[in-house]
Subunit: 404 residues, 4 copies
Amino acid sequence: MADRRVGLWLIGACGGVGSTTALGLAAMAKGLTPPVGLATALPQFADLGFDAAAAFVVGGHDIRQSSFVRSVAELHSRANVFADPLLTACRETLEAWGDNIRPGVLYQANSTLAALADRPDVRIAVKPKAAIAMIRADLEAFKSANKLDQVVVVNVASTEPSFPSSPYHDSAMGFQDMLDRGDVGLVPTSTLYSLAAIEAGMPYLNGTPSLGASFPAAEALARSQKVPLAGQDFKTGETLMKAVLAPMFARRNLKVLSWVGHNILGNRDGQVLNDPANKSSKIKSKDALIAAILGYKPQTHVSIEYVESLDDWKTAWDHIHYEGFLGTKMTLQFTWQGCDSVLAAPLLLDVARILLRAQRNGETGSISDLAVFFKSPMGGVTEHQFAEQFTMLERYLLGSQSTP
Amino acid sequence: MADRRVGLWLIGACGGVGSTTALGLAAMAKGLTPPVGLATALPQFADLGFDAAAAFVVGGHDIRQSSFVRSVAELHSRANVFADPLLTACRETLEAWGDNIRPGVLYQANSTLAALADRPDVRIAVKPKAAIAMIRADLEAFKSANKLDQVVVVNVASTEPSFPSSPYHDSAMGFQDMLDRGDVGLVPTSTLYSLAAIEAGMPYLNGTPSLGASFPAAEALARSQKVPLAGQDFKTGETLMKAVLAPMFARRNLKVLSWVGHNILGNRDGQVLNDPANKSSKIKSKDALIAAILGYKPQTHVSIEYVESLDDWKTAWDHIHYEGFLGTKMTLQFTWQGCDSVLAAPLLLDVARILLRAQRNGETGSISDLAVFFKSPMGGVTEHQFAEQFTMLERYLLGSQSTP
Amino acid sequence: MADRRVGLWLIGACGGVGSTTALGLAAMAKGLTPPVGLATALPQFADLGFDAAAAFVVGGHDIRQSSFVRSVAELHSRANVFADPLLTACRETLEAWGDNIRPGVLYQANSTLAALADRPDVRIAVKPKAAIAMIRADLEAFKSANKLDQVVVVNVASTEPSFPSSPYHDSAMGFQDMLDRGDVGLVPTSTLYSLAAIEAGMPYLNGTPSLGASFPAAEALARSQKVPLAGQDFKTGETLMKAVLAPMFARRNLKVLSWVGHNILGNRDGQVLNDPANKSSKIKSKDALIAAILGYKPQTHVSIEYVESLDDWKTAWDHIHYEGFLGTKMTLQFTWQGCDSVLAAPLLLDVARILLRAQRNGETGSISDLAVFFKSPMGGVTEHQFAEQFTMLERYLLGSQSTP
Amino acid sequence: MADRRVGLWLIGACGGVGSTTALGLAAMAKGLTPPVGLATALPQFADLGFDAAAAFVVGGHDIRQSSFVRSVAELHSRANVFADPLLTACRETLEAWGDNIRPGVLYQANSTLAALADRPDVRIAVKPKAAIAMIRADLEAFKSANKLDQVVVVNVASTEPSFPSSPYHDSAMGFQDMLDRGDVGLVPTSTLYSLAAIEAGMPYLNGTPSLGASFPAAEALARSQKVPLAGQDFKTGETLMKAVLAPMFARRNLKVLSWVGHNILGNRDGQVLNDPANKSSKIKSKDALIAAILGYKPQTHVSIEYVESLDDWKTAWDHIHYEGFLGTKMTLQFTWQGCDSVLAAPLLLDVARILLRAQRNGETGSISDLAVFFKSPMGGVTEHQFAEQFTMLERYLLGSQSTP
């Protein structure tokens, strides 16, 4: 185990989450920062054989002109997020990893996403199979060039518009036929990346609400390729709070009348979500769990607005109006002020480490026990209560303690 | 079971919680209000043999000149809490129950509490044994006059000052000797009421942080008298939130740096807590659980201030400062605006119903599985996480489904 | 003056603001409530000859089936707003005034507004002149039947969609020609009511953002008819706070980076504003003043959402992000929880009393010194700072102390 | 004017406010930061002859071992306040100014303040005259060594306990006798510094609630020495909000029922205020203005708590409960999150520049027109409304436009 080297491949590498993750891995490997924020670093999960920070090599795709170093420096200068000495100490590592970044592949992107692609060598794919082949070649080159035992592929690119499912997504066979024919509008870009990872035998994690591999045909492919999957959409802020607070109302038998959530943020994620098409998939993923937990549907409202000055500091104000004993109406409000990238990066590392271990343990397909990390957990999970989801994680990890 | 009649005896009957509970029982018995706020009315606990609202007769002690009707009317006119038609429809029942209120017994009360005693027929006890005898006689007269099968006794009187424990409280035998001798300063008034209930064979519930029956000698007496006990201090607002939110930080491995809570309220509870001696026991009970849940002690601060205009509308502002990945400091704030009596009354009814059932099932002594209802759970409970406490309750209730 | 009797005619009489105003006048006339909330009752404005509450008779138009009594009773039962004894004591007066309510006139209403019109005797006008004649007849009948010295007409009907201005609105002569021809789409309903009031020689107050009399041709007509005008859109909550807080940032030379305001409310106003067409005029009126006060345009966002359970309790959360010395970014947040009708009613009474007095003093046309009461002050007012607007009011009232 | 050089002498130089002011002056002189936060940089005050940033030389006293460079670096590393390039660019200037820092003088300090004095060369004065002489010698040496035309002396040292006034403070003559005799307990340390400044003919600004020169005998001395004075206690956060919001309630005739303010902060100021003796003078100064503005006294409460993790980020939560029309109770809450030093530093520079100009204009004694900058304005000011105070400032500055 000591000599194992693993790769973390980030789709959207130079975004806030991707570059913060790279910084965090570098800093942890040097012992400069404790693993605060990582559930996999909790005492109860010690000795489970997770890969240490020092075992990781980082690479990725991006469609924008940037680098790990530039991205964290800009994030810091705009939003005052990090400690300056950390940036200096990790600069060299981030520069080395930056050499592993490959130009992204655009496939039928909408104008909001296409506008972000300022990298001159970005590749435009006309046929899906061609895109998959280009991506897969990059993944395999990264693995062999760095002599890596395993690579986990993570989608932290900007959120795509909601993608309507079709019958073709349900059957592995039919889906491959469609891919071969290259039908227009069959899949979004995120799915092409996920297919490339699966075909390359690499675990795939979807940190966004984009479609990725979350449909039956992709699931079937993952099982046949012995690849574990996880996703989707990291549960970092307001939705985390909902998963924690809604059970309180349910168990106290208090009747939620309305739950309104307003989110403001100013990073690229916020910018992309300002396009209504891209926003709708996010809002759906943030809003569904309340009714699922309560067992009835109170009035709910979720807004996400791009407020440039906030940059990565996502602020959520939630107003929960509820009825108590004897019909009395009462109120709970909360304000969540968190740095989006800093909240998401440790979840990314948690799930990446779990997927690498899962592959070594021979697990394949969606791992539904990871629901605690996601807004829209894959694998048909119906449990949305945070405490119960954490118990699922504990059972999953502690009930299978064999280290490969 | 259909013919069973049970009694609810409220110490501090005409306070906000006591009179709201009486109003709620009357309204539920008439089918005028649903059991919102009662955990014992959740679907999973149906058919466990809890006493219906219509089975209850209410009585109690008070040291102030008031009545159920007057107390709820005043609460409503000051704080606009209830629906007016409810008050009208329940007036007759509350008046009838009002006839069951007996003058309270004062025993070495401090000046803040003594100042509240404006009832001319309040009784002052010099010796503890005499006080216990007077109280017990009232309890037994209530039971026989109303032909009740069981009576549960509930302390919702104003919070007493912290009471230093002594070796005498640890041994049943030594404690009785001290009581016989009538040593000054041995016990507070709340304990005398609890002893009267236990001696009369009646389950005892302590909804306040006052000492009551929460010491070994009282526990031993309860076991020998076949009496179940529960307490103490209902977990209604800010502490409920702490029990729900602190586990989120722990499981996400986020490091809480400081947790500051400011409570403002204007009811009698607030007035009594304005006396620093009375306040200290409350603050202790509100503050301890954070370190217990997190496993380390962040800086904490709890203030409780009497703000007359708020009356029963307790408002809590909590500011939680925490460190995430890479040392980034972030903040969560919440504002809880709830009506104190309306939040506490259903918990009172929940535990009263559970204790009556427990006595029928032959249970004695502190029931530690009821921790979910209390700030400082009796029975040596070390679990402070809300979800886990609720699971304890479910196991307790659903693992013993025999209905008497 | 002692014998003077004045009329208050409310367009949208049975809405929350209209009926709360009627209740307030009745309660003040009986001495049951102090004039809290009325600027005209401030000590500095005593002895200016404002009409006493007891001098008022109330009437109005409405398109919905309701009454003053029913409207305040429903408001109270849904939102627990008033003291019950007040409702009982004022019932008879409100019933008498209710007899003065006439069915409203619909003219080219959009579907959201038309859906509200459930009164069977509501009148539908095809030609504007016919509508004006019907309305004017009602106003004059009210005045003569009640032997009133003056009548002030107030628009508190639901907000209409933004109405595009046209060259016809700029010239008194051209406008009358158009009215005579009855061109479709020339004016909204609110304008027809305002013209009827002006033609009848009655002061007109527009408490909403609807067009009403706020264009040059109506202004000219008001001057020729010796009628004073005031409006528009009462400044009750979030916008009041903006007018108070924005000057602080300006004078401290702090740079506002973004100002985001989220409003949630559940009354009919909220329901009508849920229609995007109706909402846009409201948002414009709430958003413009920040840039006007600061002298530059920070990013701003205003949302208004209909949250049924809140009813009349309008809650606004504003997040102000600003830059201080040395580039440091800081934050101010506020939460405003107010009862919309209760906040607007005293402003209505203030301006109604001022307009009645102004007419007696011979003033005509828009009174620009009343900007302190309105979100979008008429009369070309460029001063949006609250303190300065109040000084304008003081100068206006105290510099013309002659009582008629 | 171009060649004028002026000195800024900071008592408590290495505290957060002092060192942030030094950094700000250095950065402005180099053109690295705009004068955001300075009222004296507003367009209406251009061309009044204020000294430019580049004209200033900085020095001061401190009792702690620190320096400008170390203090701002520590503040930044703890609280992430500044932009890193600013610190680097200003380092040399701050180091040069650091050579002007002299060891402070302790005189009968209480234990909380004495504990801060870790500088080995701190001087302890037994007799007040001796202390004054030492301080004055430092001031005059600074002036002559740097060839300064004027020096303004500013108290930004930690808050002292409330100091009881005595008859001796009222008479210039009697006061000097007492000083000569060296009576114990006659004056606090802050007063000795202020007397040294006045005797040296240097304008004196008190940015804290400590006594300083705010008593008749000091005022008389300042007049005879031709020295202008200003103070006291910078109005930076919660009190600023009170001065802005309370007038809104007064002018809308809304009745404030209670105003509760909770302040949490973790800088040295917070630490010193944790000592109840030191805190009381601060709370008094924060609480008085509400009744002064409203004209009646609602229930008020102010708490200040030391929360270490917040460092310089002072957070205030205020809850304002008020009654509107018809007795309806409503609520406004705000949360102010500001960096204390960054808020105070520009006020310091504003008043320092105004005092230097005032001395050139021949003004002496307390300048009451500067009330807008202070919590407890000197000079018998009874106006506490922010807008009116700003108008006072405008009249003062714009009505005397002669530039020396």
